[in-house]
C-alpha cells in the first residue's frame, strides 16, 4: 500500500509540471496583459513595469525562474494586480473561505443525501421514497445560480434573518446561505446515487442470507448493506469534494465571500498571471490528492481491492 502511494505521488510531480507549462503557455497566448487598461500606459512606463516583474525576459526564462521559485522557496511570486500581496498571501486568504463553506456543504450534502437515499431505498415505493426522490429532483433542477438568489430573496429581503452576502471571517450567519446554495445539487446527486446502489445491494444474496439469519433490519443496513452501497458514491465524492472546497464562482460572486473561485476568475480577467498559476497549481494538487484518497478508501471499503 505504501509503495502504491509513493508511486502515485511520484507520478503527481510530472503531472503538475505539465500543468504548469500548459497553463503558462495558454495564459501568454491569450491576448492582453496584466497592465492593459482603458488608458494605455506610455511605452516607457509600461517597459519599466514589465522589467519590474521580469516580463521583459523570454518566456522560457520566466517559466524556469517561476518553477525554481516554487521548488526552492515555495514562492509563487508577487501578484501583478495587487502590489502589497504575494500569491501565497492571496491564496492563504481566499482558500480558507472556500474550504470552510465547501467542507460544510460537503458534510451537509453527504449527510442529508445519504440519509434520504438510504431511507428511500429501505422504504422503497413508500411515501418516504417519493418524498426523497421528489426532493432530490427538485434540488437537482435548481442550479446554484437560481438557488442563491432565491435564498437571498427569502432570508434577506423578506425575513431579514440572514445577511445577503459578505464573509466576516466565517461567522455563522454569513456561512449558511453559501453552504445551502452550494450543497443542494450535490445533495440531490448523492441521494440518487445512494438510493439506487442501496436498492441494488438490498436485493443481493448476502442481504437475503442476513435476513434469513433473523438479523434486525437496522443491523443489516448498517453492518452489511452500507459499505458496499457506498462504493459507487465514493468515486463521485472525490471530485465532488475538490469541486466544493475550491469554490464556485457563482457562490463567491453572488455572496461576495472573497473565496478562491472569485479570485480565480477575477485574476483571469485581470491577466494576473502569477495568481492564475498559483490557483491552477492548487486545484491540480488538490485533484491529484483527492483522487488518491478515493483510491485508498476503495481498498478500505472493498476488501477485494488490493494495491
Amino acid at each position: 500500500m505504501l509503495k502504491y502511494i509513493l508511486k502515485r505521488l511520484a507520478v503527481a510531480i510530472p503531472t503538475l509540471l505539465i500543468l504548469i507549462i500548459f497553463s503558462f503557455i495558454l495564459m501568454r497566448v491569450a491576448p492582453g496583459g496584466p497592465f492593459n487598461s482603458e488608458r494605455p500606459l506610455p511605452a516607457q512606463v509600461l517597459a519599466n513595469i514589465e522589467a519590474k516583474y521580469g516580463l521583459d525576459q523570454p518566456w522560457h526564462i520566466q517559466l524556469w525562474e517561476y518553477v525554481v521559485g516554487i521548488v526552492t522557496r515555495f514562492d509563487f511570486g508577487p501578484s501583478f494586480a495587487y502590489t502589497d500581496r504575494t500569491v501565497n498571501d492571496i491564496i492563504a486568504q481566499g482558500f480558507p473561505v472556500t474550504l470552510t463553506y465547501g467542507t460544510w456543504s460537503f458534510v451537509l450534502a453527504v449527510t442529508v443525501g445519504c440519509l434520504l437515499g438510504i431511507a428511500a431505498a429501505v422504504r422503497h415505493n413508500s411515501w418516504i421514497d417519493y418524498f426523497a426522490v421528489g426532493t432530490s429532483i427538485g434540488a437537482q433542477v435548481l442550479p446554484n445560480f437560481v438557488m442563491a438568489p432565491l435564498l437571498v430573496i427569502v432570508f434577506t429581503l423578506w425575513l431579514h434573518w440572514l445577511p445577503g452576502g459578505g464573509w466576516r471571517g466565517g461567522q455563522l450567519p454569513y456561512v449558511i446561505m453559501p453552504v445551502i446554495a452550494l450543497g443542494t445539487s450535490y445533495m440531490a446527486s448523492i441521494a440518487r446515487i445512494t438510493r439506487s446502489s442501496m436498492l441494488e445491494v438490498l436485493s443481493s444474496n448476502f442481504i437475503r442470507t442476513a435476513r434469513a439469519k433473523g438479523l434486525p433490519s437496522s443491523q443489516i443496513i448498517i453492518r452489511h448493506a452500507l459499505k458496499p452501497a457506498l462504493m459507487p458514491l465514493l468515486s463521485y465524492l472525490g471530485p465532488a469534494f475538490v469541486g466544493m472546497v475550491t469554490g464556485s464562482v457563482v457562490i463567491d460572486v453572488f455572496f461576495s465571500t472573497g473565496g478562491i473561485g472569485q479570485l480565480f476568475t477575477n485574476s483571469a480577467f485581470n491577466r494576473d498571471y502569477s495568481v492564475i498559476m498559483g490557483i491552477t497549481i492548487l486545484l491540480g494538487a488538490l485533484t491529484i490528492t483527492f483522487n488518491l484518497v478515493v483510491d485508498i478508501l476503495y481498498a478500505w471499503v472493498d476488501p477485494r481491492i488490493r494495491y
Binding site: 500606459l41 519599466n48 480577467f269
Partner: protein, 544 residues
C-alpha cells in the same frame, strides 16, 4: 457631536486664472444647527472590484483613489462643488508665467504615527512617482503635470533626484514646471500627488500599505482589509481637522454583481450602490429619496478606425458624418439607459469647469434634419442600396454596451442601409484589439483626470497614447499645444471641438451620469462634484 461651522471656499477659478495667495480655513463635515446625528456614524458602500492599491503613487483605479483620498491628504482638496480648497497646503501661488508654483503647508498636519507632515514628504512622493524603479502605472501623471525633468526621469535618462520639486523649508514646497500650467493646483487633488511616508516604505517595502504597517496623513486610517471582501477605515485622531470629522467608520464591500448589490442595499446592508442600467425610473418611483442621478465628467463614444489598414469607407469624412448624424442619441439616453445621461455632440462634457459647449452644427439640428443630412451625405459618398456599406462595431462584453451597439446598428441599417455586425470581446482582449487598430468602429469611454477641457481634448492629438482612432490634424495639434501656454485657452478648445464635429474622428454618444441608490440618512454627498472626488470627512449620517 454637533458643530455649527461655516465652510469657506477658496475660489478655484482664481487659482485657475493665475497667481493667487489664499489663506482660508476649511472645515470638514458641515452639519447645520438642529440636525440630529445618528448615534452610529458609519457609512458602508459597494465597490465593483477590489481596489488596486492604497499606495498613493501606485493606485490607478477609481475605487482605490476613493480610499486614498480618505487615508491621505494632498496639497489641495475639492469641496462639494469640485472647487479647490486647502488640504495640507493653505496658500499657493505662481510666478508670473505659471512655470513655478509655491505651496505653503499647514504646521498642524500630522501622520497617523504622530510625525509632522513636511514638504519633504511631498518631494519624496513625487520623486517616487516618476522613479522607474517603482514602475508606477501612473508615472505619466508626473509628466502630465509638466514637472521639470519628469519625462526624462521616467525614460531613465535622468536620476529621480533631478525632479523639479524642492522643499526650501519644512513647510514650503516649490515646483518648477517645464511648461506654464495655469491649472496646476487643480492637478494636486489627484491621488498620485499625495505624500507618502518614506520611513514606513523603507521599513516594510511593498507591504507598507497593509493595515498593520500603514501610516497615513488623511482623515482616516486603514484598520482592516480582507482582499476581495472588505476594507474598513476609521477616523484618525491625528488628523488636523479630526474635531470636525463626523463619520467614524467607512466600509467598502466588494460586490461584483450589481443586482445583488442592489438587493443588499434594499435589505439595508449598504448605504450606497450603483443603479443597474435601465432600472433608475422604477427605483426613483419606489424610493424617491434614495435614487439619485447627477452629471459626470465622462463621455461615451465610438472610435472610427482611420488607420491605413482601416476600412476605406471610414476615411471618407462624409461617411463618418453620416454615421454620427444618424445616431438618435435621445433614444439611447431616454429609452435604454434611463439614468439621467445626456446626449453628447461634443467630446468634452458641458459639466467641465470653464468650458462653454460650442455650438456645433449637428447639435443644433433636429433628429429629422440630421437623418435627412445623413442620408444625402451617404449618397454623396457613393453608398446606397446598390453599394451597401458593411461595418462592424467592437465592444467589450457588457449588457449595456450590447444594447447601445444594437440600437445604433439598427439606426444605421434603417436610415443609411448600413449592414452592421456586432462583435464583443472580453475586456483585456478588447483593449488589445482596439489599441492595435484591429477594428472598424469600437466603443470607448473617457473620464476626465482633472476638471479642465484638455483632459478630454488631448486625446485628439496625433501623439496621444489614447488616440485609438489614429486621428491626425495639424491644426488640432497646434491649437492644443498652444492652449497649454494660454491663461484663457477656451477659444482654442472651442475651435478644436468645431474641427472634431466637422471631421468626426470619434462619434460622441452620451455623457455619463452618476446613478446611485444613496441612503437618505447620508448627507452632503457631493452631487455637484462632476469628478466625484468625495471625501468621507465631509459626510455625516443623520438619525432615522
Amino acid at each position: 457631536m454637533k458643530s455649527a461651522t461655516q465652510k469657506f471656499v477658496a475660489v478655484a477659478t482664481a487659482a485657475l486664472l493665475g497667481t493667487t495667495a489664499l489663506a482660508v480655513p476649511t472645515f470638514a463635515a458641515n452639519v447645520p444647527e438642529g440636525v440630529t446625528l445618528a448615534d452610529e456614524q458609519t457609512f458602508t458602500y459597494r465597490v465593483l472590484d477590489e481596489h488596486s492599491s492604497v499606495d498613493p503613487q501606485i493606485v490607478e483605479d477609481v475605487t482605490g483613489s476613493e480610499l486614498v483620498r480618505d487615508l491621505f491628504e494632498g496639497l489641495l482638496n475639492q469641496n462639494a462643488d469640485g472647487e479647490l480648497v486647502p488640504g495640507v497646503a493653505t496658500e499657493w501661488s505662481a510666478n508670473e508665467d505659471n512655470t513655478q508654483w509655491t505651496f505653503k503647508l499647514r504646521e498642524d498636519a500630522k501622520w497617523s504615527d504622530g510625525t509632522a507632515v513636511t514638504a519633504g514628504d511631498f518631494v519624496y512622493a513625487w520623486k517616487r512617482l516618476v522613479n522607474p524603479e517603482l514602475a508606477s502605472p501612473y508615472a505619466w501623471f508626473g509628466e502630465l503635470m509638466s514637472i521639470e525633468n519628469a519625462a526624462e526621469i521616467i525614460a531613465g535618462d535622468m536620476e529621480p533626484s533631478e525632479l523639479g520639486v524642492e522643499a526650501p523649508d519644512e513647510h514650503t514646497l516649490v515646483v518648477n514646471l517645464s511648461a506654464p500650467l495655469p491649472y496646476f493646483p487643480a492637478m494636486t487633488t489627484h491621488a498620485s500627488t499625495f505624500p507618502s511616508p518614506q520611513w514606513v516604505i523603507e521599513e516594510h517595502g511593498d507591504a507598507w500599505t497593509r493595515p498593520e504597517n500603514i501610516v497615513t496623513n488623511g482623515a482616516y486610517v486603514l484598520t482592516e482589509h480582507v482582499p476581495q471582501e472588505r476594507s474598513v477605515r476609521v477616523k484618525s485622531d491625528t488628523y488636523w481637522d479630526a474635531e470636525n470629522t463626523v463619520l467614524e467608520t467607512v466600509t467598502a464591500l466588494v460586490i461584483n454583481d450589481e443586482n445583488q448589490a442592489l438587493t443588499r442595499f434594499l435589505a439595508g446592508e449598504l448605504d450606497r450602490t450603483e443603479v443597474p442600467t435601465g432600472q433608475y425610473p422604477r427605483l426613483k418611483e419606489e424610493h424617491p429619496d434614495a435614487a439619485i442621478s447627477f452629471p459626470r465628467l465622462c463621455t461615451y463614444y465610438y472610435n472610427v478606425n482611420l488607420r491605413e489598414n482601416g476600412p476605406e469607407a471610414l476615411k471618407d469624412v462624409k461617411v463618418r458624418q453620416a454615421l454620427a448624424y444618424a445616431i438618435d442619441r435621445n433614444v439611447i439616453t431616454d429609452q435604454i439607459l434611463q439614468g439621467g445621461q445626456t446626449p453628447a455632440y461634443t467630446f468634452t462634457p458641458g459639466a467641465t469647469a470653464n468650458f462653454e459647449v460650442p455650438s456645433v452644427p449637428f447639435a443644433e439640428m433636429t433628429q429629422a434634419e440630421r437623418d435627412e443630412a445623413a442620408k444625402s451625405l451617404m449618397e454623396e459618398a457613393g453608398y446606397g442600396s446598390d453599394n451597401p456599406l458593411e461595418l462592424s462595431i467592437l465592444y467589450n462584453t457588457s449588457e449595456a454596451h450590447r444594447e447601445v451597439a444594437t440600437v445604433i446598428a439598427q439606426m444605421w441599417e434603417q436610415k443609411l442601409g448600413v449592414t452592421t455586425t456586432l462583435n464583443n470581446m472580453e475586456w483585456n482582449t478588447f483593449l488589445e484589439a482596439r489599441g492595435n487598430g484591429d477594428y472598424e468602429v469600437a466603443r470607448a469611454g473617457w473620464c476626465g483626470d482633472y476638471n479642465e477641457a484638455s483632459t478630454f481634448l488631448d486625446l485628439m492629438q496625433t501623439e496621444s497614447g489614447y488616440n485609438d482612432s489614429a486621428y491626425s490634424n495639424e491644426e488640432v495639434d497646434s491649437l492644443l499645444s498652444e492652449a497649454k501656454t494660454l491663461t484663457d485657452p477656451s477659444a482654442n478648445y472651442t475651435r478644436v471641438e468645431e474641427i472634431v464635429a466637422e471631421e468626426m474622428p470619434v462619434l460622441p454618444i452620451y455623457h455619463y451620469a452618476g446613478v446611485y441608490m444613496l441612503n437618505p440618512q447620508i448627507q452632503e454627498w457631493p452631487v455637484n462634484n462632476v469628478e466625484q472626488n468625495w471625501y468621507s470627512k465631509d459626510l455625516y449620517r443623520v438619525a432615522e
